[in-house]
């Protein structure tokens, strides 16, 4: 069975379009509200859905996702409930679902058990922001046979030869971190982003998606220029927190990307 992530990137490429991936924190502001939000934004043009499985100590996340993670945990969200949600979502949607979580919740569940449950639920990929390639072997071995992609991150501080090595190990796509820092809305993306992304893309056998700090349509267009897609997270959480509508935002991102 072809992984849905691969399928989406192939389709988009054939249409000459860039991927729009949206991050939402699992169970924020509540599981039903998150479910409604995901269905809404997928309908409005999101190509891939990234669901954050909250962790108590998210060191790669800025204040926005720290807040939503804490709220979701207080609301009683667990990995089990999120697997159940994916299962339900799969009855109606073929949209790729990528889980974003830290190493400890996976470790605690057990790598094999995590992979089995993710596969049964219909998860397509996993992003672990505190997992580097040197430590990733065991999780690759668990997820690989389950047909789930382990997506690695590459950062502006990554030396060029290492970029090649990470790209070679990443499955589905490569997550290029746009800036030196944590997740969260920024006023501007760093200078030299285009050069960094172009370099990474040249080295990568898999598509490259850019994330961290992408807050609006203009930034999405800028980030996507040299890439295969963009990932928007905190900007969605921010709107959910303020009860602002998501659909117009998705449409503006979509227009920016399709015009890029």
């Amino acid at each position: 069975m072809v992984n849905r992530i691969d399928q989406v990137f192939i389709e988009l490429k054939s249409q000459g379009r860039k991927a729009l991936m949206a991050y939402v924190t699992g169970g924020y502001p509540s599981l039903p509200a998150m479910d409604r939000a995901v269905r809404e934004i997928v309908k409005a043009g999101v190509d891939l859905v990234e669901i954050g499985v909250p962790f108590s100590d998210p060191i790669a996340d800025g204040p926005t996702i720290q807040f939503s993670s804490q709220k979701a945990l207080e609301g009683g969200i667990t990995p089990a409930r999120l697997f159940d949600w994916v299962k339900t979502f799969r009855r109606t949607h073929e949209t790729p679902v990528v889980l974003m979580t830290y190493m400890n919740p996976i470790q605690t569940m057990g790598l094999a058990s995590f992979a089995r449950r993710a596969r049964t639920a219909g998860v397509d990929g996993v992003i672990v922001p505190d997992l580097i390639i040197e430590e990733g072997g065991p999780l690759e071995k668990a997820l690989g046979p389950a047909g789930i992609h382990l997506i690695y991150l590459v950062a502006p501080t990554t030396p060029p030869p290492r970029r090649t090595e990470i790209a070679r190990r990443s499955r589905g796509f490569l997550y290029a971190v746009s800036l030196t820092g944590v997740t969260g809305v920024r006023r501007a993306l760093p200078k030299g982003l285009g050069t960094f992304i172009a370099d990474v893309r040249r080295r990568s056998p898999v598509p490259v998606a850019v994330g961290f700090g992408i807050s609006d349509a203009a930034q999405a267009r800028q980030a996507a220029a040299q890439a295969d897609g963009v990932i928007v997270g905190s900007a969605f959480i921010h709107r959910m927190k303020n009860r602002e509508p998501l659909v117009p935002f998705v449409r503006s991102l979509r227009r920016a990307l399709d015009g890029a």
């Binding site: 804490q70 605690t108 505190d130 580097i132 040197e134 502006p156 501080t157 944590v182």
Partner: protein
């Protein structure tokens, strides 16, 4: 029993291995952004630890600035009171700044200077590492910012003032449990953001490789001195070493130089809070399970879903849900034994040392003292034990005035 036979037990020089592992524990679980600086730091440490100029400079500061070597005191009255083995106290409380933390901050800040980093950040719980970092930064003309849990800032107001008086900026951390764990989270986020200009000076044997190893090496001066100083009193090694364990840096500093001396027993004392069954404690090795926090695979206090649990201890310096990976390895391999002392036992330990020796220990070290009567019970009078008096109690006097005054008159009787 432990799965380690004589021949498979690694020597200290093989700990950690090239990947930063102590047995199954340690490693690097960090955002990719930090990988390059960690590799840079490891290379720098490998180079400068053998560099004569660097070592001479560090040793000079340890001697003339920090006041090393610290004495090894035979605690005669305490020995008599306990009626067991001879008890020696390693007087880290006499270090400049009042605790062993300065051994490490001088080393790391000198390294920061060699790496050309102008800005140093640190996290602190009890404030001793913050004060140690602020001190080293003032000495070496580096700018210093310290992350400290808002709750800890209240508990340790005196140390906040000391840091500020040395020009350091103290940043309150209001996320999560508002204690040491969250201060480390914030420091790591700062480091991820400002990695080009900033050196992260970690205060214990925790964090991603090379920190647990590097901090151990800087703190091993404690055990190396003891090895030498014990000869003023007796011919052989001490029979047992005792130290409190939060992250575990004073304990590793005392233990590691004796690691290959298998006859020397190690006892680490964790914070038992209100008792292990109460759930309100910080006894990670006594009750936790392996997991990943702050860049290392180690024992953690966590729930069934892998969420890190809130901790409690009367001492801010031990109020931490993880522990150094080398301790996790010592536990599993049976090299060290870890026990817990409750808040009450720590207070009893604090009183015991005051009354017998006229020494006021920090609340952290008071945990080691609190469990000492139990630990020496099976030992013979001809034996000896060295306890690391990791810090002095001045910083805790405000807090203690309230507790010892308000609580029932004698904590030993409650």
């Amino acid at each position: 029993m432990t799965g380690f036979d004589r021949h498979s037990v690694p020597l200290l020089r093989d700990l950690p291995d090239v990947r930063g592992y102590f047995g199954a524990y340690g490693g690097r679980f960090v955002p990719e952004t930090l990988m390059a600086p960690l590799v840079e730091l490891e290379a720098a440490f490998r180079k400068f630890r053998r560099d004569l100029t660097f070592r001479r400079e560090l040793n000079g500061f340890l001697k003339n600035f920090a006041g090393r070597p610290t004495p090894l005191l035979f605690a005669e009255n305490l020995t008599k009171r306990l009626g067991g083995p001879r008890v020696y106290l390693k007087r880290e409380d006499l270090c400049h700044t009042g605790a062993h933390k300065v051994n490490n901050t001088l080393g790391q800040c000198l390294l920061a200077k060699r790496l050309g980093k102008k800005r140093v950040i640190a996290e602190t719980g009890a404030g001793q590492h913050g004060v140690g970092t602020a001190t080293a930064c003032a000495l070496l003309s580096l700018s210093c910012e310290v992350y400290m849990g808002a709750e800890d800032m209240e508990r340790q107001a005196l140390n906040v003032f000391r840091m500020r008086s040395m020009g350091a900026k103290v940043i309150p951390v209001t996320s999560g449990s508002r204690t040491l764990k969250d201060a480390i989270n914030e420091a790591m986020r700062d480091w991820v953001t400002n990695v080009q200009t900033t050196f992260y000076c970690i205060g214990s044997v925790v964090g991603p490789h090379p920190y647990p190893w590097m901090v151990r090496e800087f703190q091993s001066v404690i055990g190396r001195e003891v090895k030498h100083q014990i000869r003023d009193y007796q011919t052989g090694d001490p029979d047992a070493l005792v130290a409190c364990v939060g992250g575990g840096s004073n304990a590793i500093g005392l233990f590691a130089p004796f690691y290959d001396h298998k006859r020397v027993k190690f006892f680490g004392v964790e914070a038992g809070g209100e008792g292990l069954r109460s759930g309100r404690h910080s006894a990670t090795l006594c009750t936790g399970r392996p997991g990943v926090l702050h860049g290392a695979y180690t024992y953690l206090m966590q729930d069934d879903n892998g969420q890190v649990l809130g901790t409690h201890s009367i001492s801010a310096g031990l109020d931490y849900p993880a522990v150094g990976p080398e301790h996790a390895f010592y536990k599993d391999s049976g090299r060290a034994t870890y026990v817990a002392a409750t808040d009450k036992e720590a207070l009893a330990g604090f009183k015991l040392l005051n009354e017998t020796e006229g020494l006021s220990a920090a609340l952290e070290s008071s945990h080691a003292l609190g469990s000492l009567p139990r630990l020496v019970r099976p030992m013979k009078n001809s034996q000896s034990v060295v306890l690391c008096l990791s810090g002095r109690g001045d910083k805790d006097m405000g807090q203690l005035t309230g507790i010892l005054h308000l609580g029932s008159s004698d904590p030993k009787n409650t």
